[in-house]
Each structure stands twice: as structure tokens, then as C-alpha cells.
Assembly symmetry: C2
DNA sequence: CAGAATAATGTAAACGTTTACATTATTTAT
DNA sequence: ATAAATAATGTAAACGTTTACATTATTCTG
């Protein structure tokens, strides 16, 4: 039979309020009484029912995590970071992702109104109006994981896309490349837009004229990298280096280069962005930007819990941009020892 | 101000019990009354508080998912399958994973006793005694995702490791290879043990003597594949084909082969198990066994919900083994068109 | 029309915890 | 010793829903 607080109180010869105070560590309880209660609770394997506690306190110690999809290691790393930090702070993770049967607006609405979660981490690469409305109206703390920065009353976290793209483009420039192309991410995706900005900024700061023919639209898939590179190399004016706005597209470029009989980096230097695991194992190892995804997850959780606990103002405007790191492989032209290659 | 059931009842001029009956669709309610209540609830944006409902019904419509780790695409695919099916059936996912700060026994105990979840999906590659005790004593339905099969009162799901290993070993035999090696998975990991069994069974059924020197222990990492292959090829007696018990180890074999100046499949045929995404992009494409991980997740959820709803006996013994598929690449010696390669 | 059966609704309590405020016990100060 | 202050405990209600069983309303049958 399930033990409840009344059983503990009866056996300890005190009221249920005293049991509650003893177990929760606030309110006055004589130390002697408290020890007695703790001992009995331990003997009877009693822990407070979190559902009842949730109804009483209006807090569930649960965080809602809303993701746009669950398709690659990025999301694994993010969830991993979130899970670790949440656990560390005594929170549970209610996970939800968009798929063919559910969209992100419905899920967001539900999490924000249902009482199941104390706060929400929302990742939506494209922030539609209806979503922004929801976020603005929410009674529950929310942390966004995207480019939205310095908007009144919004807390958001992201990686420094612009800084990373700048760094890797600068690296190509430092190699002496002048004709540098970019295969972009999807239109409307703000990470992609920031990477484009970083690319342009690096060219500008190095007094390299931007050639619009060297900006090819992509969609973060291998295929768009493959076809984008094909397009670049069927143009009259050919680049000497190409920056793929993510590593998957860089893989597509590797494919296309092989098909065309081009050598990397001798004929064409290639760099990517996000340092997926695969990038370690291709030849030459891809030069790319490492992004701290787990840390992104854990920092977002930390701030969200601060808001829930009112340790920071939930209405405050806050933004964090996590810095990225340049990972040197051989694909840009650097001479590196390469042990970890497949072929 | 948060609307509650009393507001709806007052405005509809009925009791809260009638509101509850109307919204939950059971118990008698006059259709006219029901429509009126639904209309008002909709106008006031009322939905029942799930926490209060949970306390009353002792059901939260939440499933606890306990995973041993969150490190690769296997877990992403599994969570994806779980998430989709749970959503389809109106359930939420409370996700928890082991990490440096938490072990699987604690988490299992907590999920089974705390009332936060209606049932649990537990994946533990090594079923320790204390875990088996917990599972046996649990008041909540549990589905295991591992090799435990046909144990009294336990429901479990897994992929057909033995069948897949048999099939891929048979494929090597069909190529005419007689000297076939295996790099195993970790000791005590039952998936690994089943793959070893399938390997042995294929040899036996083809009257090929098992050479113990051709069984090399591995741990599912690239490194153990690399060093395992090195060991195989420093032996006097060398194999003509090697089956890596997972694709990551197969990648390690590719590395080692390159280092040694061996060609795949000309000098040594290589096959793997689990068809990770990376296996599509190496040259030659790895011949491997495809495993339906998303389906594993969704079938486990489906059965768990059946147990929760008492549509099946929660004390019944049940096991499902999901069949695998042979994916032909060039690494075994088959001639295949290979477009999707990196180099 | 009256009684029986069925449909519909309401009342009260349950679920298990937390906590504001009232009450009691103990300690301190004069 | 008495009064005031502080510590400790208890009572009652709250949180928001569900549902067993009682009550009332409506319909059916003889």
C-alpha cells in the first residue's frame, strides 16, 4: 500500500504540516522532531507525491524542450547538454519535437498553458509571427535557442555564427585565397544568415570585393553542397576556395570534387561549419568551426531555471552568444598530420 | 486569470461534475447540455489542468524513457520513433539518460515510484541484478529494450541481432570466403553476444570450422576496430573477410587497412552492422545490416500504452524481435554503382 | 394516471501535498 | 513571578480535477 504523509505524521505523532516542514527544510521545526520524521520517512520509503506537490505549489520541476526535429547529432548533443544540467538542478525534461503530425506552434501553446512544465526551451530556426506572439504572451519563462537577440523581454542563446564564419573565412584569406565562394544555408534560417554576414564581413575587412556569383544558395544538405559546387565549377569564373555553411554541404562538395577529378585542397580548398563527427574521418580532414552544442543546452537550462526561481527577472532582455573554435584539418591547405582518416 | 472548471460550471449553469462528464465523454450528459459546455469551454480557452487530473486519476499521460547514454544517432532515431508514437497516442515523453552524475538504477527507481509517469521504457544493455529486481517489483508497466526475451512477466523489444549477423556472415560465405573473422562488441553486452551467436551459426550451417584466432574482442568503438584489425593482420593466419560487430568498428578497419596499404574489398572484405549514416559515404560503401531503430521505439511505446490501458495483461510475458535488412555496398566484393561517396 | 425504469444531474469526498494564520509551548527580560 | 518575545506546532483550507452514490427529472409501460 502506498505510504502517504498521513502515515508519517501518525507514526511520528505530529501533524502533517510538521512533516511537510521537516521534509522541505523551511518553516520552523525542532531539530529533534525533524530527525524523527526523516527517520520514519526513510524506513517507510516515503517520498512526497510530485503530482500532489505540483498541484499545491503550481510547480512541477519539469522543463519543456521543444525542438524543430530530431534528425542528427546536433540534437543529440543539445539534448545531452540539457539533460545533464537539468538533472544537476533537480529538474526533469519533457521532450517534444515537430514531426509530420505535429507542428511547433501547437506544441508551444500546449506547454505554455497546460501546467505540465515550469518553463520552456524553444528552438525554432524560423520564428513565425504566431510563435513570437505566443512567446510574448507566455506566463511561463521561456528561453529561445536561435538568433533572436536583444528583443525586449526575451531570453535567447545561440552560438556565434557570425564570429565563426568570420574566423574561417579569415583563415582562408590568411592562406592567400582571394576568390572565395560560399554555399549558404536555407533562406529564412537565421543561423544561415549570420554565417553569410560573417563571410561578408571577413571579405570586407580584408578589402576583398564580394563577387555575387560566388554566393550559391544551399539548404544544409549534402545534395545542395554537391549541386552547389557543380554550379560554381560550371561558371566561367571559378573560386580557389569554398566555404560551405555547414559540414554536410562540405561533404557534398567532397563528392562533387571527386566526380570532377579535382583534388582538395590542391585544386580547391574547402571549409565547413559545425564540426560534425563525420568531418574527422574524411580525407583530407575538413577544416571547420567547432560549435559547443552541449554547452548551449546546459547554459540555456541554467538561465531558464534562474528565471523560474526568480533569481533573474523573467521579463529581462538577455542574450548569450557562445564562441566557436577553428578546427584545422588539411582541406584548407594547412599541412597537418592526419591519422584519423578512412581512406 | 486562469480559468478553472468552476468558471465553466457557473457560466453553463450546471455542476462541475457535469462539466467533467461533458469534457471527458463518459458518464451521461444530455447532448444539448454537452454542446453548451463545450462552447463555453472553447470561448474561455479552458482545458483541464493535467496536474489536478493526474492527482485525481493517478495517471499523467506521460511515459518515462530511460536510456544508457545519449551519444550517437542510434539514440536520436530511437527517441524520434518514441516521440512520434507517443504523440500519436496522446502521451508525453519524460526523457532521462545516464551520465557521469546519475546512474540507471536510481533513475529507474525514481520513475517507477514517483507517480510522474504511467509507464517506463528502459534500455539497459547490461541488466544488473538490482535492475532486474526493480523491474520485477514495479507497480508500473515497463517495456525493456534489450535482449531479455521470454522471461516470465517481462515485456521486451529488440532487433534481431542474431538474424542480422547470420545474414551478413552468410553473405560473406556466399561470396566464397572461408576465412572469416569477427571483431566482437563489448563483453557482457547482450546485443554483442547475439551477433557473435549469429556469426557462429552461419559458419556452422555452412560447415566452416570456427577459428578462435579469428574472434577478436572489440568495444564498438572505431579504435577497437582499428587495433582489432591490426591484431588480425599481424597473425600468421590471416582472414579474407572480416565482420565488424558494428559500423563504427568497421570504420576503424577501413583506417587500419589504409595504413597497411590493403585494398577493400580486393585484399580484405569488410562488413558491418547497424547501417549508420556514415556508412553511406565511405569508399567502398560498407555492406552492413540495417536496423529499424525508429520502429523499435514506436513499437515499444505502442505495447507500453496497451499495458497502461490494460488492453493487454501487464504481467504477461512478451517479446518482439524486429527483423533487420542486408544493405549491399562494395566492401564485401559485390559490384555496385557508388554515387554517394566522399572520396 | 400511477408506478417503474431510465436518463441526467448534483453533492460530497477523494486524490496528497503545501502553507497562512491560529494556537500552544518555551525562552527571555524585567 | 509576570509579561513579552520567540519557537514550534496544529488546523483548516487551498490547489483543480474526477467520480461514487444520492437525488431529481424524464420517459416508458401497464
Amino acid at each position: 500500500m502506498k505510504v502517504n504523509i498521513n502515515d508519517i505524521a501518525r507514526q511520528a505523532g505530529v501533524s502533517i504540516a510538521t512533516v511537510s516542514r521537516a521534509l522541505n527544510g523551511h518553516g520552523l521545526v525542532k531539530e529533534e522532531t525533524r530527525q524523527k520524521i526523516l527517520k520514519i520517512a526513510h524506513e517507510l520509503n516515503y517520498t512526497p507525491n510530485p503530482i500532489a506537490r505540483g498541484l499545491s505549489t503550481q510547480k512541477t520541476e519539469t522543463l519543456g524542450i521543444i525542438l524543430p526535429e530530431l534528425v542528427d547529432e546536433f540534437f543529440m548533443d543539445l539534448i545531452h547538454g540539457i539533460d545533464e544540467e537539468a538533472y544537476r538542478q533537480g529538474y526533469y525534461i519533457l521532450l517534444s519535437s515537430s514531426h509530420s503530425q505535429r507542428n511547433i506552434v501547437e506544441t508551444s501553446l500546449e506547454f505554455m498553458t497546460s501546467g505540465r512544465v515550469d518553463g520552456v526551451i524553444l528552438m525554432a530556426p524560423k520564428m513565425r509571427h504566431e510563435l513570437m506572439d505566443l512567446v510574448a504572451k507566455s506566463k511561463r519563462p521561456i528561453v529561445l535557442l536561435n538568433c533572436i537577440a536583444n528583443i525586449k523581454g526575451i531570453a535567447s542563446f545561440n552560438i556565434d555564427n557570425l564570429g565563426g564564419a568570420f574566423a574561417i573565412t579569415q583563415h582562408l584569406v590568411d592562406h592567400g585565397y582571394k576568390k572565395i565562394a560560399l554555399i549558404t544555408g536555407p533562406e529564412g534560417n537565421c543561423d544561415a544568415e549570420e554565417r553569410l554576414k560573417g563571410f561578408k564581413k571577413a571579405l570586407e575587412q580584408n578589402n576583398i570585393a564580394l563577387n555575387e556569383d560566388f554566393i550559391i544558395p544551399g539548404d544544409f544538405t549534402i545534395k545542395s553542397g554537391y549541386y552547389g559546387f557543380n554550379r560554381l565549377f560550371t561558371q566561367r569564373n571559378k573560386p580557389e576556395a569554398v566555404f560551405a555553411a555547414n559540414d554536410m554541404m562540405a561533404l557534398g562538395i567532397y563528392q562533387a570534387a571527386k566526380t570532377m577529378g579535382l583534388k582538395i585542397p590542391e585544386d580547391i580548398a574547402v571549409v565547413g561549419f559545425d564540426d560534425i563527427r563525420l568531418s574527422h574521418y574524411i580525407h583530407p580532414r575538413l577544416t571547420t568551426i567547432h560549435v559547443p552544442i552541449q554547452e548551449l543546452g546546459s547554459r540555456a537550462v541554467r538561465y531558464l531555471i534562474k528565471m523560474i526561481r526568480q533569481e533573474v527577472d523573467p521579463q529581462a532582455t538577455y542574450h548569450e552568444k557562445l564562441s566557436t573554435g577553428l578546427i584545422i584539418g588539411g582541406s584548407c591547405g594547412c599541412q597537418v598530420a592526419q591519422l584519423n582518416t578512412i581512406i
